[in-house]
Point group: none
Chain length 121, copies 2
């Protein structure tokens, strides 16, 4: 499997659009399209930026055997959401976190988020 297909498969597995990656990487859409379709080969620095946008390690583009269960395995869509949540003001955050708390049924959530919510509580 070439690097372009690998990038695309990771991107789709993360539920991200090409546009999201492009804006995160700050590169031209035409170039990114050519990379995913194998027309052009990305440079290492470009691949590094793409990996950053996708939330994977550089080595994840190359090997297929060893995995995982670490921070980098979290779905990029979750990271997208976190970024959005962080844009909320404190009151809004409180609402969201309380709801999650209720759904998950884990009081420790508030403690875990104490750093973020310290002045809200």
């Amino acid at each position: 499997m070439n690097i372009g297909k690998k990038i695309k498969s990771i991107r789709e597995a993360k539920g991200m659009t090409a546009k999201q990656v492009i804006s995160a990487v700050d590169m031209g859409a035409p170039m990114y399209s050519r990379i995913e379709n194998g027309v052009n080969e990305p440079s290492l620095s470009t691949l590094e930026k793409i990996g950053k946008a996708l939330g994977v390690k550089l080595s994840d583009f190359f090997d297929t055997d060893d995995k995982l269960a670490d921070v980098n395995s979290y779905d990029a869509s979750i990271m997208e959401k976190i970024k959005l949540v962080e844009e909320l003001n404190d009151d809004e955050k409180k609402i969201v976190f309380s709801l999650v708390d209720a759904l998950v049924g884990k009081k420790k959530l508030k403690d875990a988020l104490s750093g973020v919510l310290q002045d809200v509580k």
Copy 2:
């Protein structure tokens, strides 16, 4: 550690001279020198050839412990939240995501989460 130093350290660990690698890779000595010294960045195909000459996998050039700044920049409390959210079932996720969507007012959220929510919708 940059890629050049990594190549050099692997080469020296294998007890090979630069000349040996160069002849095996069939590339110019000046270019190889610049790569090892970080002046130039090798292309993926060149790095692949170097890896072949050194007898290592491409992923061996990239340490697995180099976590991504993008992910690591989030503090532990955020990671706690991610884990909790991921414990939700799809319906619950949908509620949380919809709420965040409403609060943030960004339609792109749904797109970002389409991969996660595809079978919920």
